[in-house]
C-alpha cells in the first residue's frame, strides 16, 4: 500500500469513527451496554434473587395435616419451620397422592399445602398436595419436605443404633481420603483457561457480529440513503480503499465493544465468585499469538461479510432486515461448538466456517497448540476471510451503489 493510499484509508476510518461516536445512541450501544450488561446481570440478578428468597423465608404458611397419628417431634419441627397447621383425619382415597376432596382447597389457596401422613407400623407413608404454579404452595412443600427429610434421617440413625451398628460406618462406608482438589493434576492456570474457554469464544463470536451490524449499516446503506456516498465516490480513492477504510472503522468500533463486554463479564465473575473460581489462564506466547490471529481472521471475515450485505441493500431498513436474521449464521454454530468434545476431535471440524475459529479459541485458551488443527483452521479461515473480502469488494465496485431509494 502506497503512502497516499494509506493516508486515504486512515482518513476514511478516522472520519467514520469520529462521526459514529458523535451519536449518543452509539455510545450507549457500543460502550455503556457492553460494559454494564454482564455486571448488571451477574450482580443485580443475584441480589434480586436473594431478596426474593428472604421474603419467602419470612413468610408464615398454613397447611393442613391429615393423619392417623403424627409423631410429636415431627409436629414440633413443622411449627419451627414457620408453618401453621391444622390437623384432620385422613380422607378415604385410593392412595395418599389422590387429591380427592382436597383438590379445590389447594387450588383456591385456602391451604398452602396438604400433608397426608399415615403410619403402617414401622413404615410411614406420606404425600403432599400442592399447587406448583403458586410460590407460597411451592415454598410450603419445600419446607415440609425439609422437615420430613430431617425427621427421616434421625429415624434412620436411631434404628441403626438400636440394631447395634455404628451409624457413620453404616451410612458412609466409602470415603475420599485427603483433599479432593489435590487429585486434579491440572494447574490453576489451565483450569482458568478451561472456564474461560466455555464462554469467551461464544461472547466473542456473537458480540463481534451483533456489534458490527449498526456501524456496518450506517457506513454503507446509511450513506447510500443519506446521499453522502455519491460525493465520496467522486473522490480520488479507489473502491478498495473505501472498503478498507470502512472495514477498519467498523473493526475498531466492534473491537472496543467486544473488549468492554469481555471486561464487564470478567469483572462480574470476579465480583460474584471467589478469587479461586477464575484466574489468569496459563498461556504460552504461541497460544497468545494464535488467539490474536484467529480473532483477526474472524473479524476480517465477519465485518467484510456484513459490509458487503449492507452495501447490497438500498436502505437502512433493508440492510437491517438482512443483517439481523443473518446472526443465526453465527449463533447456531457458536452454540453447537460449545458442546463439541475437544479430546480426540477430528480435524475436519477445524475447517467449518465460524466453528473452526471458535474451536481454535477453545483449544488455545486451554493452552493446547496442536499443529494439525492450527494449520487447518488458519488456512480455512484465511480462505473464508479472503472470500468475504472479495465478496465485499464486488459489492463496493457496483455502479448502482451511488443511487438511493430517496
Amino acid at each position: 500500500m502506497s503512502d497516499g493510499s494509506f493516508r486515504r484509508v486512515r482518513s476514511i476510518a478516522k472520519k467514520e469513527v469520529v462521526e459514529f461516536t458523535r451519536d449518543w445512541r452509539t455510545i450507549i450501544a457500543i460502550i455503556v451496554i457492553p460494559l454494564l450488561m454482564f455486571p448488571l446481570l451477574f450482580i443485580l440478578f443475584p441480589i434480586l434473587l436473594e431478596s426474593e428468597a428472604a421474603e419467602l423465608d419470612a413468610m408464615e404458611l398454613t397447611i393442613v395435616i391429615q393423619t392417623d397419628g403424627l409423631p410429636t417431634n415431627l409436629a414440633e419441627n413443622i411449627t419451627l419451620s414457620g408453618i401453621n397447621y391444622t390437623l384432620e383425619t385422613l380422607p378415604n382415597t385410593t392412595s395418599l397422592s389422590t387429591p380427592g376432596p382436597d383438590l379445590e382447597r389447594v387450588r383456591n389457596s385456602s391451604a398452602d399445602a396438604v400433608l397426608r401422613f399415615e403410619s403402617n407400623e414401622d413404615v410411614w407413608g406420606y404425600a403432599i398436595l400442592h399447587l406448583s404454579t403458586s410460590e407460597r404452595s411451592n415454598e410450603a412443600r419445600y419446607r415440609v419436605l425439609n422437615v420430613l427429610a430431617e425427621w427421616e434421617d434421625s429415624e434412620v440413625r436411631e434404628r441403626i443404633e438400636l440394631g447395634g451398628l455404628d451409624v457413620n460406618e453404616t451410612l458412609d462406608p466409602l470415603r475420599w481420603d485427603g483433599e479432593i482438589s489435590s487429585g486434579d493434576v491440572a494447574t490453576t492456570g489451565e483450569q482458568s483457561g478451561m472456564i474461560l474457554s466455555l464462554f469467551i469464544p461464544l461472547v466473542l463470536a456473537i458480540w463481534t457480529y451483533s456489534s458490527a451490524i449498526q456501524p456496518s449499516i450506517d457506513m454503507t446503506a446509511g450513506e447510500r440513503e443519506r446521499g453522502t456516498l455519491e460525493a465520496l465516490l467522486c473522490l480520488p480513492c479507489t473502491r478498495m480503499e473505501l472498503l478498507f477504510g470502512k472495514w477498519l472503522a467498523v473493526a475498531t468500533i466492534t473491537g472496543v465493544g467486544v473488549l468492554l463486554q469481555i471486561f464487564g463479564l470478567l469483572f462480574a465473575i470476579g465480583y460474584l465468585a471467589s478469587s479461586s473460581f477464575i484466574g489468569v489462564p496459563q498461556l504460552s506466547i504461541v497460544s497468545v499469538l494464535l488467539i490474536v490471529l484467529s480473532i483477526m481472521l474472524f473479524a476480517i471475515m465477519v465485518v467484510a461479510f456484513e459490509l458487503a450485505l449492507a452495501m447490497r441493500s438500498h436502505s437502512v431498513k433493508e440492510a437491517g432486515s438482512i443483517l439481523a436474521p443473518a446472526l443465526m449464521l453465527i449463533l447456531f454454530p457458536a452454540l453447537f461448538t460449545q458442546v463439541i468434545n475437544l479430546d480426540g476431535i477430528e480435524g475436519f471440524w477445524f475447517a467449518i466456517p465460524v466453528v473452526n475459529i471458535l474451536l481454535a479459541l477453545r483449544e488455545l485458551l486451554m493452552n493446547r497448540v496442536i499443529t494439525e488443527h492450527v494449520i487447518i483452521w488458519a488456512v480455512s479461515s484465511i480462505i473464508y476471510a479472503t472470500l468475504a473480502a472479495y465478496y465485499a469488494s464486488r459489492q463496493f465496485s457496483r455502479e448502482d451503489i451511488v443511487t438511493s431509494l430517496s
Partner: protein, 277 residues
C-alpha cells in the same frame, strides 16, 4: 484557441435494458461554463457521473486533456452532487477538510481557499457549526466550498440552485461566474432554461439520452429559428420523454405473484360485488 480539458467521445451508457446515454460526444474547454439542460430523466446526472468517474461508460471514453481517464485524475475535479452529500454529525469545516485530505491537500491550503470562498458565500461564521441544522442553501454552499477547497480545474455542479431561495441562488450563480472569470471551468446541470441562459456560456440540451443541441444561447436561437430558449428547447425535444416503464417490466414472477396476492381485485360483475362484501 481554447484548450480542451475534458473529452467525451461517443459514450454510451446502459443500465440493464435501459440505454441512459446514446453516442454522446462533447468537448469541454477551459474557462467556460457549460450548461447541461434537460428534463428529469434526460441523462444529465448520468453524464455528470460519467465525467466524475463514478460510472464507467458502456462504450466510448471520457478522458482528460492529458489522455488520462477521469477515474485516475479525480483530483482535477470538484463535484457537487444534487444531494450535497454532507455528513450531518461533522461541522462544515470538517466536511470540507475530509474531502481535501482525500485529495491530498494540506489543511492549511484547504483552509485558505475555504476562507476566501466562504467570505463570498457569507458562510465564514458557519464553518464551525454541525451541518445537521443547516438550511438547504447553507448545505449547498458548504458542498460548493468542499468542492472548491482542493483547487480543482473542473467543477461539476448537479442542480446547484435546486430548492434554494432567490438570494442563495443568486450568490451561487455569482460565484460560478467569478470562478469562470478567474479561469475555472464549470459544468452546470440544470433543468431551468432561464438559469442556464443567465449563467452559461454554452448550453448542451440533452433529451432521451442524446445531445440535441450544443452551443452558446444565441447560436441555439439561430439554429432553431426561434426567439426564446424555451421555444428552442421545445422544438428540439418534440418526441415524448422516456418513461420508467422498464421498472415494472423487471418485476420477477415471485414479486408479481406476491403483489397480486395482496392487491384487492376491483369487482366488475354483480356477483363479484356481492362476494366482495
Amino acid at each position: 484557441m481554447k484548450k480542451s480539458l475534458l473529452s467525451i467521445r461517443d459514450v454510451t451508457k446502459h443500465f440493464a435494458e435501459v440505454e441512459a446515454l446514446q453516442g454522446i460526444s462533447l468537448e469541454i474547454y477551459s474557462g467556460e461554463i457549460v450548461g447541461l439542460v434537460g428534463s428529469n430523466g434526460a441523462g444529465k446526472t448520468t453524464l455528470l457521473r460519467l465525467m466524475a468517474g463514478v460510472y464507467k461508460p458502456s462504450s466510448g471514453s471520457v478522458l482528460l486533456s492529458n489522455g488520462e481517464s477521469v477515474t485516475t485524475m479525480r483530483q482535477e475535479l470538484g463535484v457537487v452532487p444534487e444531494s450535497t452529500g454532507l455528513y450531518s454529525r461533522l461541522t462544515a469545516w470538517e466536511n470540507i477538510r475530509y474531502h481535501s485530505r482525500m485529495h491530498g491537500v494540506s489543511d492549511e491550503i484547504s483552509w485558505a481557499r475555504t476562507e476566501k470562498f466562504a467570505e463570498h458565500l457569507d458562510m465564514k461564521e458557519s464553518l464551525g457549526r454541525h451541518t445537521k441544522g443547516f438550511s438547504r442553501g447553507m448545505r449547498q454552499k458548504t458542498a460548493l466550498l468542499r468542492a472548491l477547497a482542493h483547487g480543482p480545474n473542473i467543477l461539476l455542479l448537479d442542480e446547484p440552485t435546486a430548492g434554494l431561495d432567490i438570494t442563495s441562488a443568486r450568490t451561487v450563480r455569482a460565484l460560478v461566474r467569478q470562478l469562470r472569470d478567474e479561469g475555472g471551468t464549470v459544468i452546470y446541470s440544470t433543468h431551468q432554461l432561464a438559469e442556464a441562459q443567465q449563467v452559461c456560456d454554452r448550453i448542451v440540451i440533452i433529451h432521451n439520452g442524446e445531445i440535441r443541441a450544443d452551443g452558446p444561447p444565441k447560436k441555439l436561437l439561430e439554429d432553431t429559428n426561434t426567439h426564446s430558449l424555451e421555444e428552442a428547447y421545445v422544438s428540439l425535444t418534440l418526441d415524448q420523454a422516456r418513461t420508467r416503464k422498464e421498472d415494472n417490466d423487471k418485476e420477477s414472477a415471485f414479486t408479481g405473484w406476491w403483489r397480486r396476492l395482496f392487491t384487492p381485485k376491483t369487482p366488475t360483475t354483480t356477483r363479484e360485488v356481492m362476494e366482495s362484501e
